[in-house]
């Protein structure tokens, strides 16, 4: 078990290094950051000046070493825009995004599993069809449109929540709802099919023969085994939520990493973009690692391999 966890941590470290390398290659080797900062028409002498300043005339290996060691110390360069280190800027915004992400997850995951289980219990019933249509909506809807509609109807017309800004329940509900809809759609569909698959297995028949009620059969036996594919999807949906946060934070003026990324992109602030990419990928890698450990609890066959 400990060996398994250590192995997963090492794997996560490797994935992080690869991500950093990709970020480096895309930023330094493929594109030219100087042209991005000072514009494509700038004079050659000025370009060389800035290249020297940023250390871009050093050999690639030296640059790579500097980039990687800096990243491992938590330094991702200086923002072109504010001339301050980028990592503190990102980390300062991180709590807002985590707050939004956690509220979204708390809203989405239990609801999705409940919907999926309800649909699985009576396939092809009206409840199943309703849930299926709802889920399909979630999978295919465009987030910024949904965000605008929610603002228009729930915030402006009904006045239940604030249209934008950062704060408690009245601020967080609408962006969290917007972000939650897609994961609800995907996870409930996954949960439905996973539970239906489990309910067909022989051990379910045996559990019924033991005299367990249908509720006990579904919620203790089927759901525990169905949780394995559900958790895989949930891991993917964590990435969906963090990516969706960019659009949703922008629409709702939510001061998180997503909004910062959009600002950095619009100002062509490459080091800041790289820092946000690093932090967001790091979070996705970490949640997936935690979910992998959760697998071993749910599936003893992994635990003992």
């Amino acid at each position: 078990m400990t060996i398994f966890i250590i192995r997963r941590i090492l794997q996560a470290a490797v994935v992080t290094l690869i991500t950093l390398s990709v970020v480096f290659v895309v930023g330094r080797v493929v594109g030219d950051p100087v042209r991005i900062v000072i514009g494509i028409e700038a004079e050659e002498t000025r370009v060389q000046e800035v290249r020297d300043q940023l250390g871009l005339n050093d050999p690639l290996t030296v640059q790579y070493w500097r980039f990687m060691t800096g990243a491992l110390r938590g330094e991702m360069g200086t923002s072109f825009w504010t001339r301050t280190p980028t990592m503190p800027m990102v980390l300062e915004r991180l709590p807002a995004t985590i707050y939004l992400g956690v509220v979204t997850a708390l809203l989405a995951f239990p609801l999705a599993i409940l919907l999926g289980a309800t649909a699985a219990l009576k396939p092809h019933s009206w409840a199943d069809r309703l849930i299926n249509v709802t889920a399909l909506g979630g999978v295919s809807i465009v987030e910024f449109w949904l965000a605008l509609m929610l603002i228009l109807v729930v915030a402006v017309q009904l006045g239940w929540f604030k249209t934008s800004g950062y704060g408690g329940v009245e601020y967080v509900v609408l962006p969290a709802l917007t972000l939650a809809y897609k994961p609800i759609g995907r996870i409930s569909q996954m949960a439905r099919s996973a539970i239906i698959d489990e309910l067909r297995k022989p051990y379910i028949k045996a559990a019924r023969a033991k005299g367990l009620s249908e509720k006990q059969v579904v919620f203790t036996h089927a759901l525990k085994n169905a949780a394995i594919p559900i958790i895989t999807t949930t891991g993917d949906e964590v990435a969906t939520i963090l990516n969706g946060a960019m659009v949703v934070e922008t629409v709702f003026g939510w001061p998180g990493v997503g909004l910062l990324t959009i600002n950095a992109l619009s100002r062509r602030d490459l080091p800041l973009v790289e820092a946000t990419v690093f932090v967001v990928t790091g979070m996705i890698i970490m949640t997936n690692m935690l979910l992998d450990v959760a697998y071993t609890y749910l599936n003893p066959r992994i635990r003992f391999q």
Partner: protein, 351 residues
């Protein structure tokens, strides 16, 4: 001391259903005119078409038939665990100690399932939940039906595992099903089924997936436990040698119908249905020199579209005009010996 407490609890904790059911007389289990069908997109599969049998205490009733003859679906209907939809029990009666189980409230049935009537299955490893330890799965029965605490149930589970001769029961209770062999999984299933001393044990091909030496051990174990507890066993199998060893009476099924019932001696010595005769002849014998195995020609009928008249007529050497149109009813061949063949007298003479 603690053990005495558990025993005392066992006795005091009879469920209401138990009290209702005992003392009503009649047979331990009486199944009559049971019909089960599966409504599929391809048509209505008539899996069980009017099955009758009785089971008394301490008795082993074997249900014999080919795959698809409706023998498993029939007992699932007795347990009330036919997957529905697509499966529907459309008619018939299942009486346990005189109490009708069909139409009984689901929560009442849950008290009988596992408690009064327990069941073990063919693929023991697949019928254990892969996500829980075997100890947990056995204790679940005791906690559910007896309301034992976790500690008491665990203790009793280990005792049960000992009773079905699983070595190192204390340690093995914390193992998961995938860490057991098929034979050991079947022992776990048996321990679970016997946890509450059921009156009826339904064993659906319990040894089919096991190799021969393990088969013999498992059957031996079941017989011993039956002697101890006096439970009635319904044994579903297509294995003649298993039947010859343990059965008291035999029900032969074909295409969802009972074609012949009788004592083990009646079935083996004076089979009164051409299908039973065919099954007997399929068993290779060392005392006769034969070049070919005797097989029953043809294959079982499509249950969506059963032949008119006697369902066996397309494969029957005695079939004639009457068999094509008129469905035979069970006729008395001898005491407790019935055959659903129009011409059973000829079969008796021919054998």
């Amino acid at each position: 001391m603690q053990r005495e407490e558990i025993v005392a609890m066992d006795e005091s904790n009879n469920t209401p259903s138990d009290q209702q059911i005992t003392g009503n007389g009649g047979h331990l289990l009486e199944v009559s005119d049971l019909h089960v069908e599966f409504r599929t997109s391809g048509g209505v599969v008539k899996a069980v078409n009017g099955v009758n049998y009785i089971l008394d205490e301490g008795e082993t009733l074997a249900i014999l038939g080919e795959s698809g003859s409706g023998k498993s679906v029939g007992v699932e209907a007795v347990m009330g665990i036919v997957e529905s939809p697509p499966g529907f029990v459309t008619a018939g009666s299942v009486k346990f100690r005189g109490t009708e189980l069909r139409g009984m409230e689901e929560d009442q049935l849950c008290k009988i399932r596992g408690h009064n009537i327990a069941m073990i299955f063919q693929e023991a490893q697949a019928t254990l939940d892969p996500g829980f330890t075997v100890g947990h799965q056995i204790s679940e029965m005791l906690r559910l039906h007896r309301g034992l605490s976790k500690e008491e149930a665990t203790k009793k589970s280990v005792e049960l595992m000992d009773r079905v001769q699983i070595p190192f029961a204390v340690e093995r209770a914390n193992d998961y099903p995938h860490q057991f062999s098929g034979g050991m999984c079947q022992r776990v299933m048996i321990a679970m089924a016997l946890a509450l001393d059921p009156d009826v044990l339904i064993a659906d091909e319990p040894t089919t997936a096991l190799d021969v030496t393990i088969q013999a051990q498992v059957m031996q174990l079941l017989s011993e436990l039956q002697t101890e507890t006096g439970m009635g066993i319904i044994l579903i199998t297509h294995d003649m040698s298993v039947i010859a060893d343990v059965a008291d009476r035999v029900v032969v099924m074909y295409a969802g119908r009972v074609v012949e019932t009788g004592s083990i001696h009646q079935i083996f010595d004076q089979p009164a249905h051409p299908y039973t005769v065919g099954l007997m002849n399929c068993v290779p014998r060392l005392d006769r020199k034969e070049d070919n195995l005797n097989i029953i020609p043809g294959s079982p009928p499509n249950p969506i579209n059963l032949p008119a008249g006697c369902a066996f007529h397309p494969r029957c050497s005695l079939a004639r005009e009457r068999c094509l149109s008129e469905t035979p009813v069970s006729a008395e061949v001898g005491p407790y010996h019935q055959s659903a063949c129009h011409f059973f007298e000829e079969v008796l003479v021919g054998h």
